[in-house]
Amino acid sequence: MATKEFLFAGFGGQGLLFSGKVLAYKGLIEEKNVSWLPSYGPEMRGGTANCSVIISDEPVGAPIVLNPDVLVAMNLPSLDKYEKAVRKGGIILVDSSLISRKVERDDVDVYYVTATRLADENGTGQLANMILMGKLLSVLDEYNEETVSAALEKCISARHADMLDYNRKAMETGRNYAG
């Protein structure tokens, strides 16, 4: 992996900025160059939200991801908006419990995960984002339990330590999801 650019997109409140943060910290722990850039402003409150993450062996240049290698789409407007931007040969992860349509392109790898429904069923409430993250890392063959765990600890404050296990569990669910 020389440079990989990720775009997480969906509604505010789906935990996309958090997913991006976990991924960035994982990269940092693995001694890569990383950047994490959220969209900010009024759209934080309920509108669309996205965040750019770049993980690279080289120093990161522009931190804004326009043509992602990986798109994680958690609502239809995001898929509509970014599907075409994904690099040829890239990856699109779709939360198929929220997006009913299929990806139209045939030059990218697509994974459909019923993440939001799974999260509800497994009692991990709002952690659809982490289910997708688990799936993503497993697809990339980057699911390193040690660094994933360390990254989660970095991103979850001690006050919410009880959330650590839920997050781990959600990521495991995603990792083992066949689809």
Partner: protein
């Protein structure tokens, strides 16, 4: 760590124990960080009633000789401009952060570099300058904050961190392993006479025009020394470059990608990234103009820094503009296309 938080933490490490601010997007993380930390380390965090009040509280602490800062974003900096002029007129050291957003007016909340003129020409009324530092990474947000305090104290003037929403919001690893110069003694400060000296007066009023002229000329002699000693730029692949990009902050990061792309396609491109916008790194540009064929100024403005690039190169080679404004950011591809175009045109 977020860029804005890096500024706040660096300020604390530099010994700043007084922060005054007023909420405005996109720099509120600085205030939030200070609100959390200052009470725990015996410092002052105060949310002022306005930007104007905040900068005048800064003026008060600076008068009393302590390291002090405020932060805001473009519309708020306009309000602070009165205070910036008074700080300059009274020769007070302070640090001001501008996380620029699109303008004019209320503009937008997305990143911009359109306060370049305001910052490098002083911003408020009267003949004066501020030291203007332009970070382009989270690490530099921290590093230049510390440098800003040090230079402010050394030269008794305001340092401004001219950042933008992107660098403020983005997270990157940052190391706080700094060798920090402590604030020097400030015998001029209004700390109470303790009946042991004549009274100190912090003032910018000179009703005698001869005295005001003399004071201004003295101040400009100081500016000359700063211009000579403190101008700073990073050069990337400029040595043999035909096309040179001039860009700072977020625009420089985008441009770096474009330069790499150009090199991969056999175009000799390079990048000069001014780190100090005032003083402007004129010599670096003058030297570049000796061998380069063209310069492209990449900005998040309608073309502001380009004037300094032209002055520094004395228009010896063509200087063109590549820009996005209103909160939009040029893409690496847009910059690359500009390089290709310039390279086809030749130059000189």
């Amino acid at each position: 760590m977020k860029g804005n938080e890096a500024i706040a933490e660096a300020a604390i490490q530099a010994g700043c124990r007084h922060y005054f601010g007023y909420p405005i997007t996109p720099q509120t993380e600085i205030a939030a960080y200070m609100a959390k930390r200052m009470p725990k380390i015996g410092g002052t965090f105060l949310q002022a009633e306005s930007e104007i009040a905040a900068i005048n509280m800064v003026y008060g602490v600076a008068s009393a000789g302590k390291r002090v800062m405020t932060s805001s974003s473009s519309p708020g900096i306009s309000l602070k401009s009165e205070g910036l002029s008074y700080l300059a007129g009274a020769d007070l050291p302070a640090l001001v952060v501008n996380a620029q957003r699109g303008g004019p007016g209320l503009g937008g909340i997305q990143p911009s570099q359109s306060d370049y003129f305001q910052a490098t020409r002083g911003g408020g009324h009267g003949d004066y300058h501020m030291i203007v530092l332009a970070p382009s990474s989270v690490q530099e947000m921290a590093q230049l904050t510390i440098k800003g305090f040090e230079l402010a104290d050394e030269y008794r003037m305001t340092s401004m961190i001219l950042a933008d929403g992107t660098i403020g919001q983005m997270m990157e690893p940052v190391s706080f392993d700094f060798d920090i110069k402590e604030a020097p003694a400030k015998p001029w400060a209004t700390t109470g006479t303790k009946m042991a000296r004549e009274h100190n007066v912090i003032n910018s009023l000179y009703l005698n025009p001869e005295l005001l002229e003399k004071t201004n000329i003295e101040r400009y002699k100081k500016y000359e020394i700063i211009a000579e000693k403190e101008a700073l730029a990073e050069e990337y692949l400029t040595e043999d470059a035909d096309i040179i990009i001039a860009a700072f902050g977020i625009a420089a990061r985008v441009s770096r990608n474009a330069v790499n792309e150009a090199r991969a396609n056999g175009i000799k491109a390079g990048l000069i990234r001014p780190i100090t916008l005032w003083p402007f790194p004129e010599k670096v540009f003058a030297k570049a103009a000796e061998h380069a064929k063209q310069i492209i100024s990449v900005e998040l403005s309608m073309g502001q820094m380009i004037e300094d690039v032209r002055l520094a190169t004395q228009c010896r080679i063509p200087v063109s503009l590549c820009y996005r404004v209103g909160g939009m950011i040029p893409t690496p591809d847009q910059v690359y296309q500009a390089i290709v175009e310039a390279s086809e045109k030749g130059g000189k």
